[in-house]
């Protein structure tokens, strides 16, 4: 087993031809973020803030913001759109002599609890059925 598969962690680091402020805005502004993250995203970028990312396939990732250190660090936990697992994402922005470095780390937290996610919908459907039966029994 090679080392890169020992942990459920993916890390990417890029040098960008932009200032730290520009990178931070690209992470935190809904319109700017939606231009590159894939799909429309609305996220309340404050610790504990919530949001969502609508993936190109229409599936929705729920987002909960963790740590926010303006201009340096942003963390959030998101659920998968379809399949996959809940994971923590952390962005770290660092100034470079020319430009900025952005490092993103995604750490898998655990399997998505499909049962918990679908339970309200299932219960809703059961209630609908019950109402339907009630309606029929009155006829």
């Amino acid at each position: 087993m090679s080392d890169e598969h020992d942990e459920p962690v993916v890390t990417r680091s890029v040098e960008l031809d932009a200032t730290v402020d520009e990178v931070w805005t690209a992470l935190t502004d809904d319109v700017e973020r939606s231009a590159w993250l894939g799909g429309d995203s609305t996220i309340d970028v404050r610790p504990g803030g919530r949001g969502q990312v609508v993936e190109p396939d229409g599936s929705v990732r729920r987002v909960e913001v963790g740590d926010v250190d303006p201009g340096r660090r942003l963390g959030w936990r998101w659920s998968p759109g379809t399949g996959g697992a809940i994971s923590d994402v952390e962005f770290v922005v660092e100034p470079l002599p020319r430009g900025a470095r952005l490092t993103v780390t995604e750490r898998r937290v655990g399997a998505y609890d499909v049962h918990a996610a679908t339970a309200p919908a299932v219960i809703g459907r059961l209630l609908d059925l019950e109402l339907l039966f009630l309606a029929r029994s009155r006829v």
Binding site: M1, H5, D17, A18, G83, G84, A85, A111
Partner: protein, 110 residues
């Protein structure tokens, strides 16, 4: 598939179990006693770790006399690798798009 992937990552999140898995994979069918001889842990501890590896599907046990013989199941790693690959590819694509976005933003308006 998801819980299976978590079990694999959990099982291999421990350095001793990782060494054990590598040892089983490189030696072929092997008993806990034989493994304990090569590692600074007791046979009981080795057996405990092997049970965790077996529950994650990373090794299988076959009864051989009074002991189990353990064999690695390398395919058990496939789903974990797929998760890593998919997440990595998504970030590659997003960061390429971010680079394009910032490049376009910094160019003077025509």
């Amino acid at each position: 598939m998801n819980r299976h992937v978590d079990a694999v990552f959990d099982a291999l999140g421990d350095a001793t179990r990782r060494r054990l898995f590598d040892a089983v994979a490189s030696t072929g069918p092997v008993t806990a006693t034989e493994l304990a001889g090569d590692l600074p842990v007791t046979r009981q501890a080795v057996t405990k770790h092997l049970v965790v590896l077996a529950e994650a599907g990373l090794v299988t046990a076959t009864r051989s006399g009074r002991e189990n013989r353990y064999q690695a199941v390398p395919e058990a790693l496939d789903d974990a690798r797929i998760w890593l690959d998919e997440v990595g590819q998504r970030w590659d694509a997003r960061l390429r798009a971010l680079r394009r976005h910032l490049g376009a933003a910094s160019e003077p308006a025509p």
